[in-house]
């Protein structure tokens, strides 16, 4: 005997180890899949970011060249004027004045003569510039002792470059330290000899804004370097025009990458590279503006690009972890309990015991205390789950968060232990996702995505998820291929549902959400096909009709479920239960949403009928014990609204009816004024300005103004040739106005 037990123990232990091993393999496979997915997602996101960065650089280049081209074109167009003026040098300033006055981008312009061109003047350079304060154009001659223009870059390079030359940017020291650049090109006289260099100085104050638009991620930044490596645009404003690319490079720890970057920028190449920092790395994209020799770059920290996907990946890993933990838990407790029952010699018996334990674990996962919300009087609820075997693949869950009831019911294809594991995973998924999602559609979408991802065994699950706003009865729901729930209102009806697909079929399926409103005493009945498809010995099914008949009788939620279950049992008789059976009954009992009181008044389009309106309002005020001052305000709003209809919807001489429907709930009163007159939308009348003085005040427009002031909500609709104006007023607790 003893020996046999030790063998059994060994066997049990081996089984546990096999289970554990399988679990580890499953975990590793899952994680590996996730990591591979993550890798590809990362790659494609980086590609998208690169494309965006490169597009942005291209756009910036186009923006910049647009402005620079204007200046180049203006200068080229004016060269003939200089040529014409050369023989009479005192007229040359007319050209420089023309360049400045015709081109708002140009701050100053000069025509600098080649030294000695005029025999009697060594240097001659008439200069026009725009005074920054007055906007006036001022002339002077640059050729004084201190300004030796023949040694300046713009002059030397201007002589050499037949198609023009953009100078290094410089600070306009006299003019407020603005960054400037000068465009210069040679002018030939009629003999074809180079006689002068014509220039235009332009301010580069606008450059920064071009680059501000490039920053597509909050922590990304852009830089612009000049031909000689001078920093022209930088996130650190104070470094602009003071630092060079070499000094900027020293700010980065990744010296090797920065060396490559510096060389590429200085030689006018385009491309991208990774620059590593302490924790992460950044992507650097760069491209030259060939015409000016400038080079643009964008720096985007990798974390910025990966921000969302990292978060998403963490979520997926979390869900997987929860699922695996559940499996581990089941495995361990099954093992622990096995020891307790090791005295059972029959294998079958042991298995039964294990399943019994698994059932206990499974049942402990779903809420089973009824009534669950005994402290609340706006909701009553009961649920029941009866697996066909010890453990099953059916599921329900519910909880209240922020005055909303979240609930779900589901049915995994298949039954027994495998289905129960899927059910366990789904249940934790529902809790995890609904803890931060309010919309059933989002809940179902996210659940489906994770479900499909973890669904290597190709299980699928019909699922229905609802979120009921307990304060106002608004129910949002999403059905994933589940049996249509019933709504018990004045009559019993199927809830209108789009069936969508079950969970686990298509990963990125976008589920449709629907909504409806429950009022006091409405109820919802959700079930799995274990109820309707319960079979008796003759293979007949229990069916929806038998189920509906039981629900017609008024009972408490628990009694309803018991009555249906008893009836199913009776029907099935001796036949074995073929499928898991689950029911959820939700009874909405928010008394604030009792059927509202309703009244109607029909008026003719005649001013004399206003008295009847006053009587009508007084009658309602008395019925719902409205404060007299508030009643009078409401009377005023209604009179104004009805008068608008009489005056505008029905032109003189026409006859028609005006219907006033009133409905009162606990704390709101709503009026709907409808007429069949011509289209007239009072809410489209512009608001009167009540702060105007006497002379400016108009006589009209006060009516709709009063309606707006008195009522909390005013809305207009044109529907089937009717004007429908809805006025709503919230009545406060103290019933004051």
């Amino acid at each position: 005997m003893k020996k046999k037990f030790s063998l059994r123990n060994k066997f049990l232990r081996r089984e546990l180890w096999t289970g554990m091993l399988l679990l580890v393999v499953a975990a590793l496979t899952l994680e590996a899949t996730t990591l591979v997915q993550y890798y590809f997602a990362q790659k494609s996101i980086t590609e998208i970011a690169s494309r965006r960065a490169e597009d942005n650089l291209e756009n910036a280049k186009v923006d910049i060249m647009n402005i620079l081209n204007q200046v180049e074109t203006a200068i080229r167009n004016d060269i003939w004027m200089v040529r014409a003026c050369l023989p009479n040098r005192d007229t040359i300033w007319k050209v420089t004045e023309h360049v400045v006055s015709e081109n708002p981008a140009v701050v100053g312009s000069t025509v600098a003569l080649v030294p000695g061109y005029y025999k009697d003047r060594k240097l001659f350079s008439p200069y026009s510039f725009r005074d920054t304060e007055t906007g006036e154009i001022i002339h002077k001659t640059l050729a004084y002792e201190e300004y030796d223009y023949p040694s300046k870059q713009w002059f030397i390079e201007g002589l050499k470059h037949e198609d023009g030359f953009w100078s290094e940017p410089y600070l306009d020291v006299g003019g407020g330290d603005i960054m400037m650049t000068t465009f210069s090109m040679p002018v030939r006289d009629y003999e074809g000899t180079i006689a002068a260099v014509i220039t235009a100085d332009i301010s580069l104050g606008w450059l920064k804004s071009v680059f501000d638009d490039l920053v597509i991620y909050p922590e990304a930044f852009s830089m612009l370097f000049s031909r000689e490596g001078k920093l022209m645009v930088s996130p650190v404003e104070s470094l602009v025009m003071h630092n060079t690319i070499h000094e900027v490079s020293k700010q980065f720890t990744d010296t090797a990458a920065m060396k490559v970057f510096t060389e590429a920028v200085m030689s006018g190449k385009s491309g991208n590279l990774k620059v590593h920092g302490e924790k992460s790395f950044s992507h650097v994209y760069f491209a030259p503006i060939e015409r000016t020799g400038w080079s643009m770059s964008i720096v985007i920290p990798n974390d910025q690009i990966m921000g969302d996907i990292k978060k998403h990946n963490r979520m997926v890993l979390l869900f997987q972890l929860i699922g695996l933990m559940m499996l581990l838990l089941i495995l361990l407790s099954a093992h622990r309990n096995q020891k307790k029952y090791k005295k059972l010699s029959e294998n079958e018996e042991r298995l039964e015991q294990e399943l019994e334990i698994a059932k206990g674990i499974q049942m402990s996962m779903i809420p089973k205390t009824f009534p669950p919300f005994s402290e609340r009087n706006d909701i009553d609820l009961a649920a029941m789950i009866v697996p066909a075997k010890e453990v099953g693949g059916d599921l329900y869950d519910f909880f209240i968060k922020d005055e909303h009831l979240y609930f779900c019911i589901g049915d995994v294809s298949g039954k027994g232990v495998p289905a129960s594991l899927v059910m366990a995973m789904t249940k934790s998924l529902f809790r995890a996702v609904s803890s931060h999602e309010k919309s059933p559609r989002h809940i179902v979408n996210v659940m489906n995505e994770s479900f499909t991802e973890m669904n290597e065994q190709n299980y699928f699950m019909t699922f229905f998820c609802g979120v009921l706003d307990l304060a106002n009865g608004h129910l949002r729901y999403c059905n994933a291929g589940h049996d249509t729930p019933l709504i018990l209102a004045e009559s019993i009806k199927k809830l209108p549902v789009v069936s969508n697909l079950p969970l686990g079929v298509i990963q990125d399926y976008d589920y449709q959400e629907q909504d409806t409103n429950l009022i006091y005493d409405d109820a919802l009945f959700l079930y799995t096909d274990g109820v309707t498809e319960a079979e008796n010995v003759d293979h007949k099914m229990f069916g929806e009709n038998r189920m509906g008949a039981i629900l017609h009788t008024r009972r408490s939620p628990q009694d309803h479920l018991k009555a249906i279950y008893d009836s199913v049992e009776e029907f099935v008789g001796g036949a074995p239960q073929s499928d898991d059976l689950t029911m959820l009954f939700i009874h909405f009992t928010n008394e604030a949403l009792k059927n509202p009181s309703q009244w109607r008044l029909v008026l003719h389009n005649d001013i004399g009928q206003i008295d009847r309106l006053t009587e009508f309002i007084n009658m309602i005020a008395q019925k719902i014990e409205l404060d007299p001052d508030l009643a009078q305000s409401i009377n005023l709003a209604l009179e104004e609204a009805v008068m608008n209809v009489i005056s505008y919807a029905y032109p003189e001489g026409t006859e028609g009816e005006i219907k006033v429907d009133a409905s009162a709930r606990k704390n709101t009163i709503r009026f709907t004024i409808s007429d069949t007159g011509q289209e007239f939308d009072p809410t489209a009348i512009p608001e009167v300005d009540t702060s105007l003085g006497l002379e400016d005040r108009q006589i009209g427009g006060l009516g709709i103004h009063l309606v707006r002031k008195i009522m909390d909500r005013v809305s207009y609709q044109r529907l089937e040739d009717k004007n429908i104006l809805t006025l709503t007023k919230t009545i406060r607790e103290n019933n004051g106005s």
């Binding site: 006053t614 005023l636 008068m643 009209g700």
Partner: protein, 100 residues
């Protein structure tokens, strides 16, 4: 709706009694229109017994006030109850009239 008009040299007192709703305003407008030619004096609009006013009633007040402004007269509104004061407030009329 009833309107009592008393004239005492250049002071005209108009006493409103009841509800000045749209139908009533049409009648009252006819009665008060001729008074606008005397708008160079002082009008006292006594609202002690005025229970209710709609925008058509407000228009009569405004029209009289405009006439007085043109002719150099004055309009004083007297003894308005809380409900009507509230309507005056919502429409900015409190700033247009001398309220006593």
């Amino acid at each position: 709706m009833e309107v009592k008009i008393e004239k005492n040299q250049d002071i005209t007192t108009v006493k409103f009694i009841g509800r000045l709703d749209t139908p009533a305003s049409q009648e009252v407008a006819k009665t008060l229109m001729p008074l606008e030619k005397d708008a160079n004096g002082t009008f006292i609009l006594d609202c002690e017994e005025l229970e209710y006013i709609s925008s058509s009633g407000l228009r009569i007040f405004l029209s009289l006030r405009k006439a007085a402004a043109v002719k150099g007269g004055n309009v004083v509104v007297r003894n308005i109850n809380n409900n009507i004061r509230n309507v005056f407030m919502m429409t900015g009329f409190l700033n247009l009239f001398d309220i006593e």
